[in-house]
Symmetry: C2
Subunit: 423 residues, 2 copies
């Protein structure tokens, strides 16, 4: 290994993208440019960890300052992400050794992995194999996931913006229903992401300041779905309010833990499980059993890429976590994750701290039971108190010709230094 | 009839609501307040024409100036709308006579009806029956429809904001797909409104500046759907771009004019035709026949109520049309509609003019054939030129606690002057 000259760093994006993961990238790159040449080059891997394995690296010095500003306001993962979980060290030691081989070839001392639970696990394993092979690495995990299911951190970057999008959308849909209910649609269902945890569904609850306001019903994956109770609740809401607005998490399950979505239970001809379909199942139930006119929407990817209505709080936290990652790395921290600490609730104040990845990887933060109303159909005041600050503030992108002016980037890949990798 | 004292006016909202119909209402009310007491009271009917038939009228003087400002930024129909088409004069003379009876009881000389094709028809019939009964009315139609299918006017208020929402959303989804395509979803389909006309689907095309950018395929109701051609196009796009983003109008039909949506062909237990389902049909096709991982979203009501990303051009036009309606009424115009005239394309300049309703009612503006690309899968440059200015500018609502601060209004209904109406 080369000593006595500044080392390099790699940044990569992992898992499902968000509206603000690029804000974290912008934070990392900005902090890198601000530091005093302890890190010589900051490479970004294409397609997450795959880009490290296959040496698809770009030098972030090629990004202009103007592009860097635009990166902060761009949804998706600008360096491309991947759904690829490294197996454990016993099963696939070769991949981990390859990572170290690439690190060594590019003189990498700092590895920043920006993702959710799986990437936290990858990050800690990278630190472990490096230690075993006596390779000096600082592996830092930068949190990101709309699922909001990482432990220790107050919330996960990406979630606050989805929450703002869903709460805004359901509020707007409520205005539509209120206008039309007398002679048209009585029940509207919005299907949102969340297979195991109801965080996103819950966030829609912020739009309702009282029982008359949308959403009137929230269906969580955590609450066993009961058709009779659901239909009775819909009827009651329609009778009192005149219409009923429902948010349903895609992962709503019956009392046997089986998804109520027909589509999820079926696979396509190629064996892919196909998600989605909860809204249509619920809508048909409402139409068939109650005879009420219904409509439904499925937010799908729109919810996690809606940078146009990102939460300013979320953007700032994502940016600061990226920025902090560089500083922690320069302090010599390894196998850690910077996270958000809620300092005060009213006003909402937060700061960045860090925790060892061993306390974070392979843990899952589920919705506390006291966040869900007793009848299972809404959020509680304590849940609202937790969620409320996460959607605060707007952070509009700039526009060009009526559309958000998002960054497109075509960077040359570094010439390869190693033979191709095959498992 | 009472003469020699200022007369009153009624304003009502009709048909499917939009993100900007309340901006038209704000224009009407503001112009009313600015005029010199020619109109004594401006009433708003609740639930459109039903509120006139059943004497559900509120006095807009109860709306404060602060509320009026908020009205301009609020989606949905604040006075509530209705889906209720008056039959023709021969079939249901009683309803028309009741309208005149209510007009007379409230000393109404001015009737403003804010809606689409059906309400233009209602408006002209109101003028006809009033003339027949020698009742002095000025019936003015204020255009509104996301369908963009009214003739003469450059575009229809409500459409530009849907267009901006759809083009923004599909651009954002494109960034998501680009990030994930290597290891995850290859095909994304967004279902948008449009049963007969592809205006909304077309508007998504504004997001694509070249063949690599989303959306790659647009499916119009005007183009007979051919499964083989569609799948071949998807394959070709995935092969060249790496992923494929599709916009599908809900009204996509096969060569026999039959909807490709299974759901649309089925009715629920109560005989309601249920829309939606095009996206899931297309997605399943892509999964089953091409073996590509897919996702789909259904925008449904979110698209027409997304005031948070309204087009500034659209908001201003909606407001000015409402404002102009009062002025035309005071000039004694009857059975007319103020409309938008495109004065220049580059820069986009427009002005308000008016046309007789006889030239507008029961006409439908369909997509010109030269707006659709030769292969049927995208828009042409001339279509882009037409659509582009309609999404220009942002008109953000104010926010409170992280959510748009939309108006809620609880106004007392005027005490009734007539016996209840029954058909």
């Amino acid at each position: 290994m080369i000593e006595n000259k500044p080392k390099n760093a790699i940044y990569a994006q992992s898992g499902g993208v968000t509206a603000v993961i690029n804000a974290s990238a912008a934070g990392v790159i900005t902090a890198f440019r601000a530091q005093n040449e302890h890190i010589a080059n900051l490479y970004a891997a294409q397609n997450g960890i795959l880009g490290v394995l296959h040496e698809q690296l770009v030098n972030t010095n090629l990004i202009s300052n103007e592009q860097l500003l635009k990166l902060r306001q761009t949804p998706g993962g600008i360096f491309k992400s991947c759904r690829y979980k490294l197996k454990n060290l016993l099963e696939n030691r070769k991949e981990y050794e390859r990572l170290i081989e690439v690190f060594s070839a590019y003189n990498i001392e700092y590895f920043f992995y920006n993702g959710g639970n799986d990437s936290a696990d990858t990050c800690i394993k990278v630190a472990q194999i490096a230690a075993e092979l006596n390779y000096p690495i600082k592996a830092i995990h930068i949190p990101k996931t709309i699922d909001n299911d990482l432990v220790i951190t107050d919330n996960c970057p990406g979630f606050g913006s989805v929450a703002k999008y869903i709460a805004t959308s359901i509020k707007e849909a409520g205005y539509d229903l209120a206008s039309m209910a007398l002679t048209s649609t009585k029940v509207f269902i919005l299907e949102v992401m969340g297979r195991h945890a109801g965080w996103i569904a819950a966030s829609g609850g912020l739009a309702a300041n009282n029982a008359n306001e949308a959403p009137h019903i929230i269906l969580f994956p955590e609450v066993a779905f009961d058709e009779q109770l659901f239909l009775a609740k819909v009827q009651q809401v329609v009778a009192t309010v005149g219409y009923c607005v429902v948010i349903a998490a895609e992962g709503v399950k019956d009392k046997n833990g089986k998804s109520i979505s027909a589509a999820e239970n079926s696979k396509d001809a190629f064996g892919h499980a196909q998600l989605g379909g909860v809204a249509s199942v619920l809508a048909k139930m409402v139409g068939d059993k109650l005879g009420l006119k219904y409509h439904y929407a499925i937010a799908d990817y729109l919810q996690r890429s809606a940078r146009h209505i990102a939460s300013k709080t979320d953007v700032e936290q994502a940016y600061c976590l990226g920025y902090a990652a560089i500083n922690y790395a320069l302090q010599g921290k390894n196998a850690i994750m910077p996270y958000i600490k809620r300092v005060s609730q009213q006003p909402y104040l937060w700061e960045i701290d860090y925790a060892p990845l061993s306390q974070i990887a392979n843990q899952e933060k589920t919705m506390p039971l006291n966040y869900i109303a007793e009848d299972g159909f809404h959020i509680t005041p304590i849940c609202r108190e937790y969620l409320q600050p996460l959607i605060l503030g707007e952070d509009y992108p700039s526009y060009s010709a009526g559309l958000p002016d998002y960054l497109t980037l075509e960077l040359a890949i570094e010439s390869k230094k190693l033979p191709p990798f095959s498992k």
